[in-house]
Amino acid sequence: MSNSPLQKQNKEIASETEPELKGTLIAVFAIGAFIVISWFIVFALFVAR
């Protein structure tokens, strides 16, 4: 069943007001990368010893 015009309009409004979180995405990826890199540095130290 296709959406009524009102439902379509509501969907559009919802997508318009959806907050933009690109910066958040990159920031949490950066934290993840920091954790992984630090972990491997100390792991390398363990292997080297």
Binding site: T17, E18, P19, E20, L21, K22, G23, T24, I26, A27, V28, I31, G32, F34, I35, S38, W39, V42, F43, L45, F46, R49
Partner: protein, 550 residues
């Protein structure tokens, strides 16, 4: 009379402030001991009047890690509970009763340490033995805190009865989770203190099962870290958004993160005992896996905080990938101090993951890296957030204003702390990787080459420690100002609202029986078999050693 702006009565204010006085006195004395330690370890100071290094180390650990944190947290949580769900006169009486018991216990323990009868450090590992009043005092602190637990539980229960079918206020929910975590965790330390240490220190039994006592301690010791962290998270999730002019990103996400902390922060103590003989490696592996589950709510929190900042910044008209960072109130110390605390948590959490990884633990175990790690977690993340809370909570309770001058001084204090801690903790981390031991007084170790590599880092720790002590003096000055000298006025008690974009909170998040049931099941799974094994296959117990370290 209830204040229109803070929603608290003068009786509430008095109760919370009583906790704050103990917390800030502990900060000053404990911090001074920390400074002395770093000076001794740099080889530049010999303690006068026969005072021992391990005596001041014990005072430092007990006052800062146990007394400051417990009193600040319980006081802050009473403020949150009284604000969101209210407190009856009867509940207030029981809160005061718990407070006096904790204070009596603290005083008893502190006197024992000051008399040099308890050089056992704050972990009080057997077979080091303290005078019995050290353990009895600690037991009283725990018992007093349990009274606070049950007062908080009762507060929410009474509110729920009056508000049938409603979800509980977010901060009240968080406080109850933290107190549940505390209650379940302290059962372990209470068991070892009451059943092992007190009879052994009184001479009623000759020996102690060392491994069992350490296992029960770490059953408590790791969730203790989360008992410190969760009040900081309360401020991050539900108070900071209001201070920055935004809203809580998601009520459900915040509650879920707290539930996950309750479930996964307790059955993980073995990651502190990875080098301990006598524990089956399989159970260590299982507890390490459970430890890594705690990363999930930590990253949920990181995401939630960044999202709150980005949404708020963009609403204020800031654009670009990271332009929203400019929209944050960097000149408001109520935001600045906790924000720096959050940033400290990135290396702190990373260090924690390294510590809990079996192979890496061999690299850093019992080195001063670990000391550097917990000075980033509790000594930076937690304490900077507690300072951030103090800037609005103390004046709100004392009926005074946070002045522009104190705000600026607070920002300077935060910067001083950041510089001091970066130097001190950074050099601890590096020296630890070079093998420098923790918990040890100054020594050249017979002039070995390896020990000579550490000394420059130990001097750096003394430099960092001295800067940190300046930070403590500034904070104590700010506290005194906010209590007695700031101009009279009304300071806001900031409580954020939930974003209009957030999904409604599902009621199952408040299914207490389910979450407590899973928590208990996980604890029983992780501990039952290894503890039976530790008791059944115990080597001969150890007699006490009470003059081993001076």
């Amino acid at each position: 009379m209830i204040s229109a702006k803070t929603g608290l009565t003068k009786y509430d204010n008095k109760l919370v402030m009583a906790h704050m006085y103990v917390a800030f006195i502990s900060l000053f004395i404990g911090g001074l001991m920390g400074l002395l330690q770093t000076l001794v370890r740099s080889g530049t100071l010999t303690l006068p009047f026969g005072i021992g290094y391990y005596q001041i180390l014990t005072i430092h650990g007990v006052l800062l890690a146990l007394v400051l944190t417990t009193f600040f947290i319980i006081g802050f949580q009473f403020a949150l509970m009284n604000k969101t769900v209210g407190m009856t006169d009867k509940q207030r009486e029981s809160a005061w009763f718990g407070y006096w018991i904790m204070l009596f216990g603290t005083t008893t323990t502190a006197i024992t340490i000051l008399l040099g009868k308890a050089n056992v450090l704050y972990t009080f590992y057997a077979p080091l033995k303290a005078f019995p009043t050290f353990y009895i005092g600690l037991a009283l602190v725990v018992i007093g805190s349990w009274i606070a637990c049950f007062t908080n539980f009762r507060q929410l229960y009474v509110w729920k009865k009056k508000h049938k079918g409603e979800k509980s206020p977010l901060l009240a929910f968080m406080v109850v989770i933290n107190m549940l975590l505390w209650f379940i965790a302290t059962l372990g330390v209470a068991a070892t203190v009451l059943l092992q240490f007190i009879p052994w220190s009184l001479g009623m039994v000759d020996t102690i099962n060392v491994l069992l006592s350490r296992t029960l301690f770490w059953y408590f010791g790791h969730p203790l870290v989360y008992f410190w962290l969760l009040p900081a998270y309360m401020a991050w999730y539900a108070i900071i958004p209001k201070i920055i002019g935004g809203k809580i990103f998601s009520d459900s996400l915040a509650r879920l993160a707290f539930i996950l902390f309750l479930m996964f922060s307790i059955p993980v103590g073995f990651h502190h005992q990875l080098t301990e003989p006598g524990i089956d490696p399989m159970w260590k592996f299982i507890q390490v896996v459970l430890t890594f589950m705690v990363i999930i709510p930590s990253l949920l929190t990181a995401f939630s905080m960044f999202a709150t900042f980005e949404v708020t910044g963009r609403k204020k008209g800031y654009t670009g990938l990271f332009g929203w960072l400019k929209g944050l109130p960097w000149k408001d110390v109520r935001f600045f101090a906790p924000m720096i605390g959050m940033l400290f948590f990135i290396p702190a959490g990373t260090g924690g993951i390294i510590n809990a990884s079996n192979q890496m633990n061999q690299v850093i175990h019992n080195t001063i890296w670990v000391t550097g790690h917990f000075h980033l977690t509790v000594g930076s993340t937690v304490i900077l957030t507690f300072f951030g809370i103090s800037y609005w909570l103390i004046p709100a309770l004392t009926g005074r204003k946070l002045t522009a001058k104190i705000n600026t001084l607070g920002i300077i204090q935060t910067i001083v702390w950041t510089v001091g801690m970066t130097i001190m903790s950074g050099s601890m981390h590096i020296a630890g990787l070079l093998g420098a031991p923790r918990r040890s007084s100054y020594s050249t170790y017979g002039g070995t080459e390896q020990a000579s590599e550490w000394i420059s880092y130990q001097i750096a720790q003394a430099v960092g420690g001295s800067i940190l002590f300046i930070g403590i003096i500034l904070m104590v000055y700010i506290f005194i100002n906010m209590v007695w000298f700031a101009p009279k006025g009304v300071e806001e008690f900031p409580l954020a609202e939930v974003s209009e974009h957030a999904e409604p909170t599902p009621m199952f998040l408040e299914n207490w029986k389910l979450w407590i049931g899973i928590t208990i099941a996980l604890i029983l799974f992780a501990y039952t078999i290894p503890v039976i094994d530790i008791i059944q296959h115990a080597p001969p117990g150890s007699p006490p050693f009470d003059t081993l370290i001076q």
